[in-house]
Protein backbone atom coordinates (compact mmCIF):
# COMPACT_ATOMS: atom_id res chain seq x y z
CA UNK A 1 0.00 0.00 0.00
CA UNK A 2 1.22 3.49 -0.79
CA UNK A 3 1.89 5.67 2.23
CA UNK A 4 -0.18 8.44 0.62
CA UNK A 5 -3.18 6.09 0.38
CA UNK A 6 -2.85 5.08 4.04
CA UNK A 7 -2.57 8.77 4.92
CA UNK A 8 -5.77 9.52 3.03
CA UNK A 9 -7.55 6.63 4.79
CA UNK A 10 -6.34 7.80 8.20
CA UNK A 11 -7.56 11.33 7.41
CA UNK A 12 -11.07 9.98 6.71
CA UNK A 13 -11.02 8.01 9.96
CA UNK A 14 -9.83 11.04 11.89
CA UNK A 15 -12.70 13.10 10.46
CA UNK A 16 -15.20 10.34 11.42
CA UNK A 17 -16.17 9.62 7.81
CA UNK A 18 -16.67 6.09 6.46
CA UNK A 19 -14.49 4.81 3.61
CA UNK A 20 -13.74 1.56 1.77
CA UNK A 21 -10.26 0.47 0.74
CA UNK A 22 -10.56 -1.57 -2.47
CA UNK A 23 -7.72 -4.02 -3.24
CA UNK A 24 -7.43 -5.99 -6.50
CA UNK A 25 -6.09 -9.23 -5.07
CA UNK A 26 -4.54 -10.41 -8.35
CA UNK A 27 -2.15 -7.48 -8.68
CA UNK A 28 -2.28 -5.55 -5.39
CA UNK A 29 -3.70 -2.36 -6.97
CA UNK A 30 -5.60 -0.30 -4.42
CA UNK A 31 -7.82 2.73 -4.17
CA UNK A 32 -9.93 4.49 -1.58
CA UNK A 33 -13.68 5.08 -1.98
CA UNK A 34 -14.98 7.72 0.43
CA UNK A 35 -18.61 7.46 1.62
CA UNK A 36 -19.58 10.48 -0.46
CA UNK A 37 -18.07 8.89 -3.60
CA UNK A 38 -19.73 5.46 -3.29
CA UNK A 39 -22.93 6.43 -5.10
CA UNK A 40 -21.09 7.36 -8.30
CA UNK A 41 -19.13 4.09 -8.39
CA UNK A 42 -19.88 1.30 -10.91
CA UNK A 43 -20.39 -1.12 -7.98
CA UNK A 44 -22.40 1.41 -6.00
CA UNK A 45 -25.03 -1.07 -4.70
CA UNK A 46 -22.38 -3.36 -3.25
CA UNK A 47 -20.38 -0.46 -1.78
CA UNK A 48 -23.39 1.27 -0.22
CA UNK A 49 -24.61 -1.99 1.33
CA UNK A 50 -21.16 -2.57 2.83
CA UNK A 51 -21.05 0.98 4.21
CA UNK A 52 -24.42 0.33 5.82
CA UNK A 53 -23.47 -2.98 7.45
CA UNK A 54 -19.77 -2.27 8.03
CA UNK A 55 -18.92 -5.74 6.71
CA UNK A 56 -15.60 -6.20 4.92
CA UNK A 57 -15.17 -9.02 2.44
CA UNK A 58 -14.16 -10.34 -0.97
CA UNK A 59 -16.19 -9.86 -4.14
CA UNK A 60 -15.56 -12.14 -7.13
CA UNK A 61 -15.74 -10.34 -10.45
CA UNK A 62 -15.03 -11.31 -14.05
CA UNK A 63 -11.75 -9.41 -13.97
CA UNK A 64 -10.63 -10.91 -10.65
CA UNK A 65 -11.35 -10.79 -6.92
CA UNK A 66 -11.66 -7.52 -5.03
CA UNK A 67 -11.18 -7.19 -1.30
CA UNK A 68 -13.35 -4.44 0.21
CA UNK A 69 -12.12 -3.33 3.62
CA UNK A 70 -14.83 -1.19 5.16
CA UNK A 71 -13.67 1.40 7.66
CA UNK A 72 -16.46 2.87 9.75
CA UNK A 73 -15.68 5.53 12.37
CA UNK A 74 -15.24 4.21 15.91
CA UNK A 75 -18.46 4.31 17.90
CA UNK A 76 -18.83 7.34 20.11
CA UNK A 77 -20.98 6.97 23.22
CA UNK A 78 -22.35 10.07 24.89
CA UNK A 79 -23.86 9.52 28.32
CA UNK A 80 -26.02 12.30 29.72
CA UNK A 81 -25.92 12.04 33.49
CA UNK A 82 -22.94 11.48 35.78
CA UNK A 83 -25.04 9.09 37.85
CA UNK A 84 -24.37 5.79 39.60
CA UNK A 85 -25.24 3.72 36.51
CA UNK A 86 -22.80 5.83 34.45
CA UNK A 87 -20.02 5.07 36.95
CA UNK A 88 -20.54 1.35 36.39
CA UNK A 89 -20.95 1.84 32.65
CA UNK A 90 -17.80 3.92 31.96
CA UNK A 91 -15.11 1.22 32.45
CA UNK A 92 -17.24 -1.39 30.64
CA UNK A 93 -17.73 0.97 27.68
CA UNK A 94 -14.00 1.48 27.49
CA UNK A 95 -13.43 -2.27 27.46
CA UNK A 96 -15.87 -2.55 24.53
CA UNK A 97 -13.82 -0.01 22.57
CA UNK A 98 -16.53 2.66 22.76
CA UNK A 99 -15.27 6.21 22.84
CA UNK A 100 -17.37 7.34 25.83
CA UNK A 101 -17.88 10.80 27.36
CA UNK A 102 -20.07 11.73 30.33
CA UNK A 103 -22.00 15.02 30.24
CA UNK A 104 -23.82 16.48 33.26
CA UNK A 105 -24.23 20.16 34.18
CA UNK A 106 -24.53 19.27 37.88
CA UNK A 107 -20.97 19.89 39.04
CA UNK A 108 -21.43 17.83 42.20
CA UNK A 109 -22.02 14.74 40.03
CA UNK A 110 -19.65 15.40 37.12
CA UNK A 111 -16.26 15.09 38.77
CA UNK A 112 -13.16 13.33 37.42
CA UNK A 113 -12.85 11.54 40.80
CA UNK A 114 -16.08 9.70 40.14
CA UNK A 115 -15.08 8.90 36.53
CA UNK A 116 -11.39 7.98 36.30
CA UNK A 117 -11.92 6.02 33.06
CA UNK A 118 -13.55 8.53 30.72
CA UNK A 119 -13.74 12.27 30.01
CA UNK A 120 -16.40 14.17 31.97
CA UNK A 121 -17.86 17.51 30.88
CA UNK A 122 -19.68 19.46 33.63
CA UNK A 123 -21.87 21.50 31.28
CA UNK A 124 -25.35 21.50 29.79
CA UNK A 125 -25.66 19.15 26.79
CA UNK A 126 -26.26 22.06 24.39
CA UNK A 127 -22.88 23.54 25.38
CA UNK A 128 -20.97 20.26 25.70
CA UNK A 129 -22.14 18.58 22.46
CA UNK A 130 -20.43 20.96 20.01
CA UNK A 131 -17.15 20.34 21.86
CA UNK A 132 -17.63 16.61 21.25
CA UNK A 133 -18.10 17.15 17.53
CA UNK A 134 -21.88 16.81 17.79
CA UNK A 135 -23.88 13.71 16.91
CA UNK A 136 -23.57 11.51 13.83
CA UNK A 137 -24.80 8.09 12.65
CA UNK A 138 -21.94 6.39 14.49
CA UNK A 139 -22.88 7.89 17.86
CA UNK A 140 -24.84 6.21 20.64
CA UNK A 141 -26.67 8.36 23.19
CA UNK A 142 -27.76 7.22 26.64
CA UNK A 143 -29.81 9.71 28.65
CA UNK A 144 -29.64 8.75 32.31
CA UNK A 145 -30.37 11.86 34.40
CA UNK A 146 -34.14 11.35 34.85
CA UNK A 147 -34.31 15.14 34.49
CA UNK A 148 -36.08 16.28 31.30
CA UNK A 149 -34.39 19.71 31.45
CA UNK A 150 -31.07 17.94 30.90
CA UNK A 151 -31.97 14.81 28.90
CA UNK A 152 -34.19 16.53 26.32
CA UNK A 153 -31.37 18.88 25.25
CA UNK A 154 -29.50 15.84 23.93
CA UNK A 155 -32.48 13.79 22.70
CA UNK A 156 -33.65 16.31 20.11
CA UNK A 157 -30.35 16.73 18.22
CA UNK A 158 -29.64 12.97 18.49
CA UNK A 159 -32.94 12.17 16.78
CA UNK A 160 -32.20 14.70 14.06
CA UNK A 161 -28.67 13.34 13.49
CA UNK A 162 -30.00 9.73 13.24
CA UNK A 163 -27.69 8.36 15.94
CA UNK A 164 -27.67 4.55 15.58
CA UNK A 165 -28.68 4.15 19.22
CA UNK A 166 -30.71 6.42 21.46
CA UNK A 167 -31.76 5.20 24.89
CA UNK A 168 -33.46 7.03 27.74
CA UNK A 169 -33.81 5.93 31.34
CA UNK A 170 -37.20 6.13 33.00
CA UNK A 171 -40.36 4.22 33.62
CA UNK A 172 -43.11 3.83 31.04
CA UNK A 173 -44.92 6.73 32.70
CA UNK A 174 -41.83 8.96 32.47
CA UNK A 175 -41.48 7.95 28.83
CA UNK A 176 -45.11 8.75 28.07
CA UNK A 177 -44.48 12.30 29.31
CA UNK A 178 -41.28 12.42 27.27
CA UNK A 179 -43.24 11.47 24.15
CA UNK A 180 -45.68 14.32 24.82
CA UNK A 181 -42.81 16.82 25.07
CA UNK A 182 -41.13 15.52 21.90
CA UNK A 183 -44.40 15.65 19.97
CA UNK A 184 -44.91 19.22 21.15
CA UNK A 185 -41.40 19.99 19.83
CA UNK A 186 -42.51 18.74 16.40
CA UNK A 187 -40.75 15.34 16.39
CA UNK A 188 -42.58 12.71 14.32
CA UNK A 189 -43.86 9.39 15.68
CA UNK A 190 -41.37 7.35 13.63
CA UNK A 191 -38.40 9.23 15.11
CA UNK A 192 -39.79 8.96 18.62
CA UNK A 193 -40.19 5.20 18.17
CA UNK A 194 -36.42 4.95 17.67
CA UNK A 195 -35.82 5.80 21.32
CA UNK A 196 -35.10 2.73 23.45
CA UNK A 197 -37.21 3.33 26.54
CA UNK A 198 -37.23 1.90 29.11
CA UNK A 199 -33.50 1.74 28.36
CA UNK A 200 -31.55 -1.52 28.12
CA UNK A 201 -32.25 -5.13 27.19
CA UNK A 202 -34.76 -6.79 29.46
CA UNK A 203 -32.45 -8.94 31.57
CA UNK A 204 -34.21 -8.07 34.81
CA UNK A 205 -31.36 -5.74 35.79
CA UNK A 206 -31.44 -4.42 39.36
CA UNK A 207 -28.04 -3.01 40.38
CA UNK A 208 -26.29 -0.09 38.61
CA UNK A 209 -23.75 -2.54 37.13
CA UNK A 210 -26.52 -4.81 35.83
CA UNK A 211 -28.34 -1.84 34.30
CA UNK A 212 -25.03 -0.79 32.68
CA UNK A 213 -24.68 -4.30 31.19
CA UNK A 214 -28.24 -4.17 29.84
CA UNK A 215 -27.62 -0.76 28.22
CA UNK A 216 -24.30 -1.79 26.67
CA UNK A 217 -25.78 -5.09 25.45
CA UNK A 218 -28.55 -3.12 23.74
CA UNK A 219 -25.97 -0.84 22.09
CA UNK A 220 -23.98 -3.86 20.82
CA UNK A 221 -27.20 -5.50 19.57
CA UNK A 222 -27.98 -2.34 17.57
CA UNK A 223 -24.41 -2.09 16.29
CA UNK A 224 -24.39 -5.76 15.18
CA UNK A 225 -28.01 -5.83 14.02
CA UNK A 226 -27.20 -7.57 10.71
CA UNK A 227 -25.38 -10.42 12.49
CA UNK A 228 -28.19 -11.27 14.89
CA UNK A 229 -30.01 -14.56 14.64
CA UNK A 230 -33.76 -14.62 14.33
CA UNK A 231 -35.42 -14.92 17.75
CA UNK A 232 -35.39 -18.55 18.92
CA UNK A 233 -38.60 -20.04 20.13
CA UNK A 234 -38.18 -21.83 23.40
CA UNK A 235 -39.13 -25.50 23.47
CA UNK A 236 -42.30 -26.07 25.46
CA UNK A 237 -41.51 -27.31 28.94
Amino acid sequence: MDLSLLSALNAEREARRAAILVTELANGRQRLVRETEAEAEPMSDELLERLRTGRSGTVERDDGALFLNVHLPPVKLIVIGAVHVSQALAPMARELGLDATIVDPRTAFATPDRFPDVPVIAEWPQDALPKLGGFDRYTALACLTHDPKIDDQALLPALQAECFYIGALGSRRTHAKRIERLEAAGIGAEAIARIHAPIGLDIGAVTPAEIAVSILAEIVAEQRRDRRRAPQTRPAS
Partner: protein
Protein backbone atom coordinates in the same frame (compact mmCIF):
# COMPACT_ATOMS: atom_id res chain seq x y z
CA UNK B 1 -6.26 -1.37 26.65
CA UNK B 2 -6.52 -3.27 23.38
CA UNK B 3 -5.35 -1.47 20.27
CA UNK B 4 -8.17 -0.55 17.95
CA UNK B 5 -7.76 -0.84 14.19
CA UNK B 6 -7.56 2.93 13.92
CA UNK B 7 -4.60 3.06 16.34
CA UNK B 8 -2.91 0.33 14.32
CA UNK B 9 -3.26 2.16 11.01
CA UNK B 10 -2.08 5.40 12.59
CA UNK B 11 0.94 3.58 14.02
CA UNK B 12 1.66 2.06 10.58
CA UNK B 13 1.71 5.54 9.04
CA UNK B 14 3.89 6.91 11.87
CA UNK B 15 6.39 4.06 11.65
CA UNK B 16 6.76 4.48 7.90
CA UNK B 17 7.28 8.24 8.24
CA UNK B 18 10.07 7.51 10.74
CA UNK B 19 11.77 5.62 7.93
CA UNK B 20 11.09 2.09 9.18
CA UNK B 21 10.35 -0.76 6.78
CA UNK B 22 6.69 -1.60 7.41
CA UNK B 23 4.29 -4.36 6.32
CA UNK B 24 0.56 -4.55 6.82
CA UNK B 25 -1.27 -7.87 7.25
CA UNK B 26 -5.05 -7.98 6.76
CA UNK B 27 -7.56 -10.77 7.40
CA UNK B 28 -9.23 -11.28 3.99
CA UNK B 29 -11.45 -14.29 4.64
CA UNK B 30 -12.42 -16.50 7.56
CA UNK B 31 -14.22 -19.83 7.81
CA UNK B 32 -15.52 -21.44 10.96
CA UNK B 33 -14.61 -20.06 14.34
CA UNK B 34 -11.88 -17.60 13.38
CA UNK B 35 -10.88 -15.39 16.29
CA UNK B 36 -10.47 -12.07 14.44
CA UNK B 37 -13.00 -10.64 11.96
CA UNK B 38 -12.37 -9.94 8.27
CA UNK B 39 -10.59 -6.61 7.86
CA UNK B 40 -8.50 -6.92 11.06
CA UNK B 41 -4.95 -5.66 10.82
CA UNK B 42 -1.50 -6.51 12.09
CA UNK B 43 1.27 -4.03 11.38
CA UNK B 44 4.90 -5.17 11.47
CA UNK B 45 8.18 -3.23 11.19
CA UNK B 46 11.55 -4.44 9.87
CA UNK B 47 12.75 -5.23 13.42
CA UNK B 48 9.77 -7.48 14.07
CA UNK B 49 7.90 -5.03 16.31
CA UNK B 50 4.20 -5.48 15.78
CA UNK B 51 0.83 -4.08 16.78
CA UNK B 52 -2.66 -5.54 16.33
CA UNK B 53 -3.69 -9.09 15.58
CA UNK B 54 -4.97 -11.28 12.77
CA UNK B 55 -5.73 -14.41 14.79
CA UNK B 56 -5.51 -13.64 18.48
CA UNK B 57 -1.98 -15.05 18.57
CA UNK B 58 -2.23 -18.41 16.77
CA UNK B 59 -0.50 -17.68 13.47
CA UNK B 60 1.21 -14.36 14.19
CA UNK B 61 4.67 -16.00 14.18
CA UNK B 62 4.32 -17.16 10.57
CA UNK B 63 2.80 -13.84 9.51
CA UNK B 64 5.81 -11.99 11.00
CA UNK B 65 8.21 -14.13 8.94
CA UNK B 66 6.27 -13.50 5.73
CA UNK B 67 6.03 -9.79 6.57
CA UNK B 68 9.82 -9.57 6.87
CA UNK B 69 10.07 -11.12 3.37
CA UNK B 70 7.46 -8.71 2.00
CA UNK B 71 9.38 -5.72 3.40
CA UNK B 72 12.49 -7.17 1.72
CA UNK B 73 11.13 -7.93 -1.77
CA UNK B 74 8.12 -5.57 -1.90
CA UNK B 75 5.76 -8.29 -3.18
CA UNK B 76 2.34 -8.81 -1.60
CA UNK B 77 1.47 -12.38 -0.59
CA UNK B 78 -1.62 -14.32 0.41
CA UNK B 79 -1.30 -16.73 3.33
CA UNK B 80 -3.78 -19.41 4.33
CA UNK B 81 -4.00 -21.08 7.70
CA UNK B 82 -6.31 -23.83 8.81
CA UNK B 83 -6.28 -27.00 10.86
CA UNK B 84 -6.25 -29.15 7.73
CA UNK B 85 -2.78 -28.27 6.52
CA UNK B 86 0.51 -28.99 8.19
CA UNK B 87 1.79 -25.41 8.32
CA UNK B 88 -1.29 -24.30 10.12
CA UNK B 89 -1.06 -27.14 12.56
CA UNK B 90 2.44 -25.98 13.37
CA UNK B 91 1.17 -22.43 13.63
CA UNK B 92 -1.56 -23.79 15.86
CA UNK B 93 -4.89 -22.44 14.71
CA UNK B 94 -6.48 -24.86 17.10
CA UNK B 95 -9.93 -23.26 17.23
CA UNK B 96 -10.90 -25.21 14.11
CA UNK B 97 -11.24 -22.16 11.91
CA UNK B 98 -9.42 -21.21 8.72
CA UNK B 99 -8.17 -17.77 7.76
CA UNK B 100 -6.68 -16.08 4.72
CA UNK B 101 -4.27 -13.21 5.38
CA UNK B 102 -2.98 -10.68 2.85
CA UNK B 103 0.48 -9.30 3.61
CA UNK B 104 1.75 -6.21 1.80
CA UNK B 105 4.60 -3.76 2.12
CA UNK B 106 3.77 -0.18 3.02
CA UNK B 107 5.51 1.85 0.29
Amino acid sequence: MLSTDSDILKAAEGWRREGRGVALATVIETWGSAPRPVGSHLVIDHDGNFLGSVSGGCVEGDVLTEAADAIEDGKPRMLEFGVADETAWRAGLSCGGRIKVYVEKLG
